[in-house]
Amino acid sequence: MIDKIFFINHQWLWQTVITTLCIWLVFIWKERTKLRKKSFYVNCTISLIALLSLALIALKPSVKNSSTSFKLAIITNGYNNVQLDSLKKVYKKLTVYSYKENQALFPSYKHPETLFILGDGLQPYDLWQLDAINTIYIGGDAPKGISHFAYNTQNTVGNKALFSGKYVRPIKGHKLLLEDPAGKALDSIILNNDDSQEFQLSTNLKVKGAFVYQLVEKDSVDNIIKKDPLPLTIKEKQPLHFLIVNASPSFETKYLKNYLAEAGHKVLVRSRLTKDRYKYEYFNMENKPTIRFTQEELKTFDIVIIDLLSLTGLSNNAKNAFETSIKADGLGVFIQPESNLFNSRSRWYSFNFISNTKNTTSLEISPKNTISKFPFVFKNDISVESVLNDNSNIISGYKRVGIGRIGTSVLKNTFELQLKGKTEIYKQLWAITIESIGKKETPIIEWNSNLKIAYVNEPFSFELRATIENPIVTTKNYQIPIKRDIDIKDLWKGVTYPKSTGWNILQNNQDTTKIFKFYTINNSHWQTLKANNTIKSNKRYFGTNKPYVDTNNSTSKPINPLWFFIIFVLNLGYLWLVPKL
């Protein structure tokens, strides 16, 4: 029995015992006149009992309750009543709590033996409370609405923003519309009657800045059912620095350089006139370097477009400089194809091709147009990454060399597209190719977050990649503690709790220009998506955590201090009354 009692305030045990003894000794000393009398021993005993009960009030003794039948069910959003009823049928003494976010699930002294979660589940930030409890996640009905949604919150002017998602149990005839910040519909889709429907909406981004697009669901008579915000930060285009090296002039280069220069890029074209004589063309450039292919010179360029003859004609030094530039500085190289390229083997720049009888292709980006090509396609190697595809064939691709990329294409005379008036497709084709091959900028600070949207007063976790030492992150004048990743030195993680809706800003104190804008909404938006994420995190959490068998699963109950107080009062009453009698 004794082992079942313990003190809640056991940390004060010794102090209490000593104090009690001292007070008792004072009492004995005070009673010394009655020594050798029977009453002396009685009084001493009575006073000890009174003092002990006083001490026990302070120590709060508790009795361990080993009754094992306590079971708890927590109902959360979207729970199913039938499930709850059947649980109740099995466990007659089932206690049911409803879940309140960000609050204790149950009193700390009451540890349920088994806990059932019904419905979507607990918010990820509340899950820690169940670390030590045997929990069974039952779940509920799959929520109706948009369960998955993905898009790039950071985009660039002129790019196509894609918004793709999945709608669970759509209502036939309802429409999903993508609206711009001013409420103009940009793209739409009509929902059908399936169990779930995948959709994709897109628009071309026109203006830079931070905007809130909207995803609107309307019924068949255009009543707005739901309106969810889509925050989007749109950046300006960054011009690239091109070097085009040609052994002989070609129409392909001529059209390409015009397109690039008109688009505002810095373009240096070196075309050979004859042996050791070159024609240099500088577009949108202030300084006019002569190119001798040293690593230092190549560092300034983002992408080198070179024909095969020039590439093979490079001196050994130049070739080495080239290779190091690609490997170490991340230079992108695009080799303008010609028939020799497909036969040359085992060079540092070569690719594997498979011959293909077709002389034209229609790309996936514009299936209606045919473009002439060499009768080859890329061999689908593991090292080749595709840029442009025709069905399953890779038409343009690149491989990584160090941190740089070397790419080429089997397309021939793409300028014909311009002559045919398909300028848009020509531009699209080259924009995709160049963007994927070109040098990637390594930002000093890069912000990132898995959550696209933050909720008010809920944790918003973010990542920060910074090459600077000990970055300091602040928001609205208070600092957010960040934690360095254990493996990756420049990755830092932090959590913030945004207080207001709308755009919130995180900024780095060392470089205040590098700010991170994230959009905060209240709980009324994106409910299905949130519910779905909750289900996922709950499943993950309770799926990996093996049912926790608590060896010490009894609950303890403190003894009501009133009992001790009554004993104390009775004893003191005796001590007070006896001399009077």
């Binding site: 002129g158 008109e262 240099y280 006019k288 060399v401 924009a431 390594t442 493996d487 990756i488």
Partner: protein
């Protein structure tokens, strides 16, 4: 008695006329009431009355019935009158007694008959028609259907008046100054002769460089009246009680007014459009003339044409610029003249027709000379008039003296004499001769046939020349000569033969045996010689050709024979055969060259690029051809609006500047597509003025601006990707295993 009968007839006639007149009246009354209902205009209904009355009376002809037609009508209608009403019209005295009796009888009967019968009429029809018309007019008026077709039946004077809005919504509570008068005066440039226009409508459409004058007057005293025009503000002058501003129109755009009352509240008006149109250049149309005319030198060389010149504000001047070119090649000379039209131009006429007769002889033109001319017209536009030019027209006097070079068949040399007729020509002529045989006299026929025979002979000789035959004559002469020599040499009658020391003969001394003939026969070089003298050995053509040519010549012989025998019908078949052979020869003589591409001579690899390059220099070119982003301020404004929309940010001077510049960019677009962007421009104005700064306006303006910004081009951009140690390590590992 008779007069009484006649009177009855006259009365009947009058009644008839009256009925018809009533009919006409009913028609026109119905029409005019209908028009009155529709148009609410008495003038129009009166016009309709007169017009329909005229038409109806023309159709009904109420003046037509006369006494005679009445009498014949009555005769036709009533049998008892016995066709004798005509008697009533005649004088009593002239009748026979029987006639008098009949007249008396009839005049009685007429009296009764007239009571029964009414003159023919369609009064019923006319009244129904009238009632219908009135009903229709009433119904249309009741449902005001006409208003659908008539956009503004009553010009609303209030609609045009400028409405000022307080820029600060609170000040609306106070008494706003009211507009009393608004006028815009358009003074067209002097030359247009358009009178000064004064209107209260503020949307202006006027000619470029017109003078505009605005006057606005208010009931109470106000301050700081400005006219805002795109990017400028003009302070209006106070003149007496009204505010004035003048300007000269230069380009289209929009404007509005703004003023402040004495409490300092500012008010601004809606936007009004100024549409400027330009004085168009005259258009010139030429009639009755081909672009290219040519004359023979003996013709009447007159170029005659009419031209119509049209200009929107009148033609100031029109003339012809003519250029005569003489000579050809390097010695060509030009002479330019300005010609006036034959009838004088009426200056200022908007549409004028002018004519001109140009006599090329008066222009000092000779055969071979060319005349180019065009018409130039000017209008009155100041300071620089619009000039229009017609197309250029050509007139040429043919030069027949020039020699035209012709090449026959495949021969590269022009060897054909002028008189030479080809075989085909001969066939044509022969056929024509056969055709005309009936019409020609026998002499003529024979003569022509003989002539053709001669031509056939010439042709034969010509082709014979290719065979190596010198000519028939030459052959004949040669034969004669030989014969003559032979005669000389062997003339048995020559008495001097025995005495003369014959130096003239080739073998004068008879030193050698005369083996000439024999030598020639076995000349060893003969096989190698290129002997053209002997037609049998001429090698101008290869063997088969020679045979063909010979055949052709034989046919020609026969053809000539029958022509000379005046039997062209028989000759024709030989001519055709000859033609066939000649064609074959021509075709076989053609050389067909296979078309091949340029095949450059091969260059040795080691010789390539070994030329001297001192003169070849590297070349540098520097260009900046970045295309500027369109509408930068509209983009900025969109971003600013996003901010204003969500947060209650205060307006700063900078943002207002941005909006103003965005407004300028948009107004350029709005001039082109007013229906699309004018509302947005107006709302943008309100935002700038501060009269409507609320979320709805921000959203609307943002929507409009976003719509106005064109779709961006595809353009690659620098992308970012983080580089970290783990990634790099992975890549390194991959690289190692790749090898």
């Amino acid at each position: 008695m008779s007069t009484k009968g006649k009177d009855i007839l006259i009365k009947f006639t009058k009644q008839w006329r009256l009925t018809l007149g009533l009919e006409v009246f009913l028609y026109s009354l119905g029409a005019s009431i209908c028009v009155c209902f529709l148009s609410h205009s008495f003038i129009l209904s009166f016009i309709a009355f007169v017009l329909i009355g005229g038409i109806a009376s023309f159709v009904v002809k109420p003046w037509k019935p006369n006494i005679k037609s009445s009498s014949s009508f009555l005769d036709n209608q009533i049998d008892s009158l016995e066709y004798s009403t005509g008697l009533l019209l005649l004088p009593w005295n002239g009748h026979s007694s029987l006639a008098k009796l009949q007249q008396l009888k009839i005049s009685k009967k007429v009296k009764e008959a007239v009571k029964e019968i009414k003159p023919p009429h369609h009064l019923k029809r006319a009244s129904i028609f009238t009632l219908l018309l009135i009903g229709l007019g009433f119904v249309l008026n009741q449902f005001s259907i006409v208003d659908y077709f008539n956009s503004s039946p009553k010009p609303e004077t209030n609609g045009d008046s400028i409405i000022f809005k307080a820029n600060d919504s609170i000040s609306n509570l106070g008494e706003a100054p009211k507009l009393v008068e608004q006028w815009v005066t358009i003074r067209y440039p002097q030359y247009t002769n358009i009178p000064v226009q004064r209107a209260s409508k503020m949307d202006i459409k006027a000619l470029e460089s017109s003078q505009l004058n605005w006057e606005i007057q208010f009931d109470s005293q106000i301050d700081n009246v400005v006219m805002q025009n795109m990017d400028n503000e003009y302070q209006m002058r106070l003149n007496k009680a009204s505010y004035i501003w003048n300007t000269t129109l230069s380009n289209s755009g929009f404007y509005n007014f703004k003023f402040e009352d004495l409490q300092g509240n500012s008010y601004s008006s809606d936007l009004y459009a100024i549409e400027v149109f330009k004085d168009a250049a005259p258009t010139i149309k030429l009639q009755g003339l081909n672009q290219f005319t040519s004359f023979n030198y003996d013709e009447n060389k007159i170029v005659e044409f009419k031209t119509t010149i049209v200009d929107d504000f009148g033609v100031a001047d029109a003339y012809i610029i003519a250029t005569v070119s003489k000579g050809s090649g390097e010695s060509v000379k030009f002479r330019e003249e300005k010609l006036n039209f034959d009838n004088s131009l009426k200056k200022g006429a908007k549409d004028t027709t002018l004519s001109k007769k140009i006599n090329l002889d008066n222009m000092n033109m000779e055969p071979g000379d060319e005349l180019y001319f065009y018409i130039e017209a000017k209008d009155f536009k100041t300071p620089k008039s619009n000039t229009a030019r017609s197309e250029t027209y050509f007139a040429v006097i043919r030069d027949t003296t020039s020699y035209e070079f012709g090449v026959e068949g495949t021969l590269g040399v022009d060897r054909m004499p002028d008189y030479f007729r080809s075989q085909r020509q001969l066939i044509i002529d022969t056929e024509r001769l056969i055709e005309n045989k009936k019409t020609l006299t026998k002499e003529d026929f024979n003569f022509t046939s003989n002539e053709l025979g001669f031509d056939q002979k010439s042709l034969r000789l010509k082709y014979g020349a290719f065979m190596g035959e010198e000519s028939e004559m030459a052959i004949a002469n040669q034969e004669n000569a030989e014969f003559a020599q032979h005669e000389i040499e062997y003339d048995p009658n020559d008495p001097l033969a025995g005495y003369k020391h014959d130096h003239d003969s080739e073998n004068e001394h008879n030193l050698v045996e005369d083996k000439t003939a024999k030598k020639e026969a076995d000349n060893p070089l003969e096989e190698y010689m290129h002997n053209h003298d002997d037609p049998e050995k001429a090698t101008l053509f290869e063997e088969s050709l020679r045979i063909k040519l010979k055949k052709a010549l034989n046919e020609m012989w026969d053809a000539e024979l029958y022509l000379r025998l005046y039997e062209p019908e028989k000759s024709l078949q030989y001519q055709y055969k000859a033609l066939k052979y000649i064609q074959e020869i021509k075709n076989s003589a053609r050389i067909y060259v296979h078309r091949i591409g340029f095949d450059p001579p091969p260059i040795k690899e080691d010789k390539r690029l070994t030329g001297k390059l001192e003169e070849v220099k590297s070349f540098r070119k520097n260009e900046t051809i970045t295309q500027e982003e369109l509408f930068p301020f509209m983009r900025l404004a969109i971003l600013e609006l996003e901010d204003f929309k969500t947060n209650n940010t205060l307006f700063t001077e900078e943002s207002i500047k941005v909006f103003e510049k965005a407004g300028n960019e948009l107004s350029a677009l709005a001039v082109e597509f007013p229906s699309k962007y004018l509302t947005t421009l107006q709302q943008l104005r309100w935002i700038i003025d501060g009269s409507q700064r609320n979320k709805e306006t921000f959203v609307e303006v943002q929507k409009g601006l976003l719509m106005a910004i064109p779709r961006p081009n595809n353009n690659p951009s620098k992308t970012t990707s983080p580089v970290n140690e783990i990634n790099q390590l992975l890549l390194k590992e991959l690289d190692i295993h790749d090898r």
